[in-house]
Amino acid sequence: MNYYFKNNGKTLHGEELMAKRKKISYEPHKFETGLEGFEHISKGGLTKNRVTLIAGTTGSCKTILSVELLYRGATKFDRPGVFVAMEEDVDEIKGNVQRFGWDLDALIEQNKLDLLYMGPTLDRVEEMGSYSLDGLLLQIDAAIENIGAKLVVLDSMGSLFEQFQDKRVVRRELLRLCKHLKSKQITTILTSERKEEYGVITPMGIEEFVADNVIILRNALEAEQVRRTIQILKMRGESHSKGEFLFTLSDTGLSILPLSAMELKQSSSTARLSSGNPRMDEMTHGGFFKDSIILVSGPTGSGKSLQSMTFAAEGCRNQEKVLMLAYEESRAQLLRNAQSWGMDFRAWEEAGLLKIVCQYPESQGLEDHLLGIRREIERFHPNRLVIDSISAMERVSTVRNFREFVIGLTSFVKQEEVCSLLTCTTPRLSGGDSVTEAHISTITDIIVILRYVEINGMLRRGTAVIKMRGSQHEKAVYEFTIDGNGLHIGEPFQNVQNIILGIPSSTAPSEVQQLEKLLQGGS
């Protein structure tokens, strides 16, 4: 039944009905939480005066999320809150969040937070006859009045239900508590444990009888890496982003990484940057766009790292800031290799123009890598970014994770207008493409390929620009060589086919070319 149609038993018609509906929809709805990425996925924050259920399996960060909501609310928006602990005792909670630098004691002293323990006691408990949970309700009420709280967290439903035998009573009392808190204009957060990542939301069915909003946290193990995600399952009467979003625990708390939610609204620049190689600039008809993403793909030893270093060195020479992320070489190796090409990376680093970060891809999960890169970029504000190689990341994750990582990374560097060069290793020496390319080729603006070409028993190298958004580029496959001074791009290959697509084969010179040769020889 649609209750809009009835108002004190009187049926509403036409304009009257519309006015009533409008009035309902004009209530202010959401408040900011201050949690990194939460506003984005919830399209504005938590809904006011509603009951939100946070459900998740063991270790999925339910408590940390709920404490952070209180902490950010109290510190950023001066919004006091009450945490009702039923699982862990108060000191444990304070201790657990110390690693994020959250000083809960200070907040308690400033009357911005109250931690109330309402968990089981050590006493033996007998239930005899009927009871209510007015004790819980009154104490929450008192805590709210005391500090003027706006937000109340009950952690967790499982341990509340565990304390009492008669589940119907707890259910009834919980409903009464939530209604009471709503009537006091309090936003309530309940946490609840789940047994499995997918399926039943809570064993007690809390989502059905009391929660307006449901947030699900997941903690799945994929490819030997923990993949933490957050999903807003429902938000009554409000729009929100759907689907799972990656999040990670950093040293400051929870960070949600909204990847697919990012909009393609980045501004675009027509200013160009030199690649460091004059011939490459010619091939791209003037260099790379300032905010473009360049993918350099090639088999092992084909000169990808050299090209990325040339790109980095060019930036430093022009007094631009460059961030280099190396996932295949150690710092010492990288500096030595650069030295051998006559690039003094050490000096540029000392001058504050260059920052080199070397890490094993296996050292952490992709979402942590992504967060790390984002933090690095926010701190250093580079003009150019080099990642050597992005395909090293692929081996430590699942296909889906990797794609999310690349999308998250590229959308972020575009936002920050960082000209980024990513290298990617192809598995075969000649021709073919890699999984990495298949995933990220649509996201990149420029693709440069480096390939080995075997001609008459000689191994030669070829390069071509196969894609460039927003600009014309040379379509030929150029031969290039590497010597002590770096990478030299020569003339296009002639009379060779299938350099990119497979096994190169030579063709007979065309008539025009033969005539040209004859004429040259004759003059």
């Binding site: 109330l116 005899m128 009927s130 009871y131 004790g135």
Partner: protein, 94 residues
């Protein structure tokens, strides 16, 4: 019985005008009328909210046997105990 020889200290947490609380209070008062060794303290939650917080009182009414140890809790209006004997037994259990 050893325990029964000692003084017994009970605390009952109630809410004024709450039917279950009134029932429990009457029940206990009748029970201890002839037993001077049992001391009953009745605390109203509204007036003793800090104490209730220290004691983690969720359910109303809650009866706590403070002495002798071990500490015991009874939740509810005690209507579940079919006879005074049963209640007595629980009250004096070790």
């Amino acid at each position: 019985m050893k325990v029964a020889m000692e003084n017994i200290k009970l605390t009952l947490y109630v809410i004024e005008n709450d039917q279950a609380s009134i029932r429990t209070k009457t029940f206990l008062e009748n029970l201890i009328r002839d037993n001077p060794r049992v001391q009953l303290e009745v605390l109203d939650l509204f007036e003793n909210i800090t104490k209730a917080r220290e004691q983690t009182i969720l359910a109303v009414p809650t009866l706590i046997r403070e002495h002798p140890p071990p500490s015991l809790r009874f939740l509810g209006d005690l209507s579940g105990s079919s006879s005074e004997e049963l209640f007595h037994e629980l009250l004096f259990q070790e």
